[in-house]
């Protein structure tokens, strides 16, 4: 996806005063930024504003980008830090729910869904999105970078400033948590039928 020479020329044009060319950067990396920001910023109304703030920062800091890392890693780092600042302002914890206080089955029972309501969850992707949103924000972000952006543990470690090993263990724990919750939800559906 990232052609170094092409990117260098593009950035040189932007630095040279061709601001409109920055639109190419936005088009190319908006999905990456959204994957980071949407996982961390839970308030829907604020998500797009934070994404805009990220690109404004990218534009303002473009002079300091020296191609020491991939542009995607650099942009994702800015997105991550901007989202972190947002979370700090809103006092949202990063890892608040690592060990669930109740088992998935208990939680589902507590939700007291009717069979009709539960039937809505049959679509795996919708169910998955809902469960990802329930994960601690940092787990969701790391999973998105790994599975949606195909980033390595090392790249994720650079972005989040978390050691490689911790990134790996976060990914394993997040996936196990998701698998257990999804299975529990499917079992609940079977019970409701």
């Amino acid at each position: 996806m990232e052609n170094r020479e092409e990117l260098k020329q593009l950035i040189a044009r932007i630095k040279g005063g061709n601001t409109d060319q920055f639109g190419v950067i936005i088009e190319r990396y908006q999905k990456l930024v959204a994957h980071v920001v949407f996982k961390m910023v839970t308030t829907e109304a604020d998500r797009e504003d934070v994404c805009q703030e990220v690109f404004v920062k990218v534009y303002q800091k473009l002079d300091s980008f020296r191609f020491q890392s991939k542009l995607s890693t650099w942009i994702a780092t800015i997105a991550y830090n901007t989202s972190l600042n947002y979370l700090e302002k809103k006092r949202v914890p990063l890892l608040d729910d690592v060990a669930p206080q109740e088992s998935p089955l208990e939680r589902i029972a507590a939700e007291d869904n009717t069979p009709d309501e539960t039937a809505e969850y049959k679509d795996l992707s919708a169910l998955l999105i809902e469960e990802i949103d329930r994960l601690p924000v940092q787990y969701g972000t790391i999973l998105a970078l790994y599975h949606l952006e195909d980033m390595s543990y090392k790249e994720i470690s650079q972005i989040t400033r978390i050691p490689d090993g911790t990134v790996k263990s976060h990914i394993f724990r997040a996936r196990k948590l998701l698998k257990d919750r999804l299975l529990a939800k499917y079992k609940q559906e079977d019970l409701c039928r």
Binding site: T19, D20, F22, G23, I26, E27, Q30, K31, A34, H35, F38, E48, D49, C51, Q52, F55, V56, Y59, Q60, L124, S125, L128, I129, I132, L143, A144, H147, L148, I171, F172, R175, K176, L178, K179, L182, L183
Partner: protein, 176 residues
């Protein structure tokens, strides 16, 4: 079949390595081939992996790029706006001061004032106070008007800068 099942971590590592046989030990491979429970767990994870890789949802609005570009373009404008307003203020200040000076004092008085503040006089320490007094008396007490005009200009300048900054901030925080 050995009793020890593969842990979730080992199954995930196997899937992360694209099911490469070398990522499992021979014993683990043998176990996986014959254990339905581990195969089931692996199938669950396999489904989860494909779900995670395809997780698509409504992300950004279709006009996101255009709106962000509008903000970025607006960010560049304040510098021009401030310099233009500064030029305008400087021009108005010069014209007003010239007008006030022209109205209240003649050119001889200005030269007199320059002489009063000249380095030579200041260094010699002679006649500075008396020259100032003479100059002030010639103005007939109108020095206060000059001070008032100067302060008024500074105030106008500050208000103008404040307004320009507010406009710039609005352009930054609001999507156009």
């Amino acid at each position: 079949m050995s009793i020890k099942h593969l842990s979730d971590k080992r199954i995930q590592e196997y899937l992360d390595n694209k099911l490469r046989p070398e990522s499992l030990s021979p014993d683990e491979r043998k176990h996986l081939d014959s254990c339905q429970l581990c195969q089931g767990t692996m199938a669950d994870y396999s489904h989860l992996y494909s779900g995670l890789a395809q997780e698509e949802r409504q992300l950004l609005s279709p006009h996101f790029t255009a709106r962000t570009m509008a903000i970025i373009r607006a960010l560049e404008k304040p510098a021009t706006a401030i310099s233009r307003s500064s030029l305008f203020i400087a021009f108005v200040a010069v014209v007003t001061i010239c007008g006030v000076v022209n109205y209240f004092i003649n050119i001889k008085d200005i030269l007199y004032a320059v002489e009063a503040f000249s380095l030579e006089r200041l260094l010699s320490g002679s006649a500075f106070v008396s020259t100032m007094e003479q100059w002030s008396s010639r103005l007939g007490g109108n020095l206060n008007i000059l001070v008032f005009a100067g302060l008024l200009l500074i105030l106008v300048g500050l208000i103008d800068k404040l307004l320009v900054r507010q406009k710039a901030n609005r352009a930054y925080f609001m999507s156009v």
